[in-house]
Amino acid sequence: MIIKNGTVYDPLNGINGERMDLFIEGGRMVEEAKGEVIDASGLIVLPGGVDLHSHVAGSKVNLGRLMRPEDHRRDPVPRTEITRSGTGYTVPTTYVTGYRYAILGYTTVMEAAMPPLTARHVHEELNDIPMVDKGAFTMMGNNHFVMKYLKEGNWENLRNFVGWLLKATKGYAIKLVNPGGVENWKWGKNVEGLDDRVENYGVTPREIIRGLARVNEELGLPHPIHVHCNKLGVPGGFGTVIETVETVMAEKARIHVTHIQFNSYGGEDWATLSSAAPEVAKALNRFAGATCDLGQVIFGEATTMTGDGPWQHQLFKLTGNKWYNSDVEMEVGAGIVPYTFKPKSLVNAVQWTIGLEVALLVEDPWKLVLTTDHPNAGPFYRYPKVIEWLMSKKAREKTLSEIHRVAPSRSTLPSLDREYSLYEIAVVTRAAPARLLGLKRKGHLGVGADADVALYEFREDDIEGSFSRARYVIKDGEIVVKDGRVVKECWGRTFWVSPPGELPEDARQEFERHYTVSLENYPVESEYLPRSEVIPCR
């Protein structure tokens, strides 16, 4: 296949808007090939999008679907000759999730929160998401054995356990969610900061973060520790995220802070909420090993779902909306609360400014990934709106004029003139997330890369529309989307890692005593990964 005459943006190969031809054969980018020719004149050509933080599969996502029939009924998706039926809106069904990512030009998606005990459920749903390659991050920040070995200072056992758990769950990365806080939530409590104690364990969030960051590097995992920081959603809580980054930097390790918008709150309470984006961005600018994704707020309906049980309870109390809580023995918790972000709400308007502010103040786009923490701050298919805000000051000014009138004064956003270039957009939606995930064949179009390509008709006056429906999407060398419609259903692979590590002997007995499943029935069987690829550790 030949993609002829397109204007190519391929930041990992330093290509910035060059008119050129691309060649595909055997599902990969090659030097030269024959075959079908796609006329890409007038189109921009980007690598397939890579989402490194989204909630698309598993028990918590499915509870979000289950509890919101009112959300689905406005967004029915009929079956076609090619595609299956389903429903949207904020938490789409699995097939619809795959189709909508593809139409957007995204070809790789990571489920950001996999509870180990229900990992099978995550993989079952991932296997029902067509069109994209995928993976899932294994939650560890409140795991019994992690905290136990940290308390004992037994590094070897900790490293062994983490390695084993990644393999047992077929996970891709180490995920921390409110480390220590969720264990305390199992007694109805939380942690107040990095040095607060976890009940019965005596360890602190700081020790958990530091320990897992160190183990992550020792195992040579492709992705840094992926952290949903403590004190998320707390006005005035931004210091915690800075401290968290500093803690990991002192270990000479890497950290990815996820949905950073939710952690960049100044002020003293909700009434005085202000943006602390400048302080947080400054910290990120200071350290090479620290990266983030946005969790940008989109006005409208959302379904908040996180592994942060106590935060979700707070949100329930704030809103009075329906509330699911789901605690998982020995490991994790989760909560789900529907939420509507309203432009005329001062709090929501300030939240909206914060995400964009971070994006504009973090100097190096390679340290940043565009996300909405789908479906927490808005559904992923609104990413094009975020692209528009990043690329156009005019678009931001328009929204600023529509939101709560006090909000602009609580943020530096109105003063920021920066506008992202298409090249930078390609970085924050493709190249940076692929590089951060350590997926060497993703996020670029160089020879040897997976032939995942997205072509758009870019119109300056309708940036959102331009990115909402790709003209062509090529997945593994085949045209799967044409003119914004799925023309072929395809099935991606599941990425996972296989670091060294066996379950420590003392954990076996304890496992049998405290879990309610047998150890032999715990690891996810290979049947759940019919198409998979192990990504090597460093």
Binding site: R73, S85, T93, V328, R513, T516
Partner: protein, 419 residues
């Protein structure tokens, strides 16, 4: 002789996974750790097997599958029902078949914990996995359920007696049973509270009121001091849980009872840690809800006649469709509605072309036009099942079977329907 260890029991929502099953010459000869019901399911798995039939005549499996496909293809408004006693791949295929035939798709939860779903869609739920209960719970309330007879190992493995991380066993827990009459479960507990028939909502509301400091003089036949005492106990525990069953979901008030219970638990979280869990019956009824939800957005009572999923319990739930004589064909998978549904529903089921896919002869298979025998999930074929708390486990194949798994039968029907 082969000893299979760590076998997951495909009987009830407890999904005990510590069974040992002995196989000799391809026959199951004994079980260890299994409850009496489970043991009987394993030991008698080869008995009462259904035969492929069309119109009362024994035929080849191929012919039965062909006739099933014809019936579904020609139907205007078919019903696909059951799903709860099979594994999740078969459930996925059932969704595909329903989509292709524009069918109404329902699972047994519409007659057991459907009201639980409806209530959770109103206000959410505070849930956890069973290990949380084993490790932490110091207060357990069984409400409108009878684990001693229906979920036999639940008290031993998960709730009442097991030693957990912070609980040494029964002596560290206070256990309450709320029901309309004493059962074997009442004998295991510290306190039995007798609620008047059909008055659960009243009692739950009184507890909520007591919790908020209102003066409660008595309700639902329960004296005020008992209600106040129970409210105080709930408030004062470190980790409490309510397990509830069909005594609450299927008695007067239905989803409103559950709504009251869910809100009581929500209120309790202002004071302490408190959770709630439905006692799911069939071993994979949870899975039926999960699979339908990830594929359609809705857990049961889904209709595809518009080409996309539409949800409406009461309209698209099996009993209602049958009683109104709306569906003109039915496929029953891994369930026996003729044994459980109201007479009017069964009459209609008998009057339309009905296809049954089931390992065993059942009341429904006796009135069906087409019977397709299948392998028993968890004994004769593998698959995934979801425990009552949502924990998914891999079912094992213990013995070989001449029968096709449900998923394969459905795949073949789908091929013939034109998938």
């Amino acid at each position: 002789m082969v000893l299979c260890k760590g076998v997951v029991c495909p009987f009830c929502g407890c999904l005990c996974d510590d069974l040992e099953v002995e196989v000799e010459n391809g026959r199951i000869v004994s079980t260890k750790n299994a409850c009496p019901v489970s043991r009987s399911k394993f030991l008698s798995h080869a008995e009462d097997r259904a035969k492929p039939m069309v119109g009362g005549r024994e035929v080849s499996v191929e012919e039965a599958i062909g006739e099933a496909a014809r019936i579904l293809r020609e139907a205007d408004f078919p019903l696909i029902y059951g799903l709860s006693s099979t594994e999740s791949d078969a459930q996925r295929m059932a969704v595909r078949l329903a989509e292709l035939t524009g069918a109404s798709l329902d699972n047994t939860s519409s007659t057991c914990h459907g009201p639980t779903v409806l209530a959770a869609q109103e206000c959410g739920a505070v849930k956890c996995t069973l290990g949380e209960v084993k490790n932490r719970a110091d207060l357990i309330v069984f409400w409108g359920c009878n684990p001693a007879e229906a979920h036999i190992r639940h008290p031993i493995r998960y709730s009442l007696t097991p030693a957990g991380m912070y609980r040494q066993g029964k002596k560290d827990r206070f256990v309450v049973h709320v029901d309309v009459r004493e059962t074997r479960t009442s004998k295991m507990v510290n306190q039995f509270v007798k609620v008047q028939m059909g008055k659960d909502y009243e009692l739950l509301s009184a507890l909520r009121a007591a919790l908020r400091g209102y003066e409660v003089k008595g309700a639902a036949g329960v004296p005020g001091e008992v209600i106040r005492g129970l409210a105080e106990r709930m408030k004062g525990c470190r980790f409490g849980i309510i397990f509830f069953g069909m005594g609450l979901t299927m008695s007067r008030g239905k989803n409103l009872n559950i709504d009251a219970a869910l809100r009581l638990v929500r209120d309790l979280n202002e004071h302490t840690k408190f959770l709630i869990m439905p006692m799911r019956g069939h071993f994979n009824v949870s899975g039926a809800n999960e699979v339908l939800t990830w594929l359609t957005g809705y857990p049961f009572a889904v209709n595809f006649s518009r080409g996309y999923p539409v949800y409406n319990p009461g309209e698209f739930s099996a009993v209602d469709l049958l009683c109104r004589e709306e569906c003109d064909a039915a496929l029953i998978l891994a369930s026996d509605p003729a044994a459980h549904f109201p007479a009017a529903a069964v009459r209609h089921l008998a009057s339309i072309p009905t296809v049954v896919i089931d390992p065993k002869v059942s009341l429904t298979s006796k009135l069906a036009r087409v019977v397709i025998p299948s392998a028993i999930a968890g004994i004769e074929c593998e698959g995934t099942a979801y425990r009552m708390d949502g924990v998914p486990l891999r079912l094992k194949r213990i013995v070989d079977s001449p029968y096709l798994p449900d998923r394969e039968i459905l795949e073949r029907i789908i091929e013939r329907v034109g998938g």
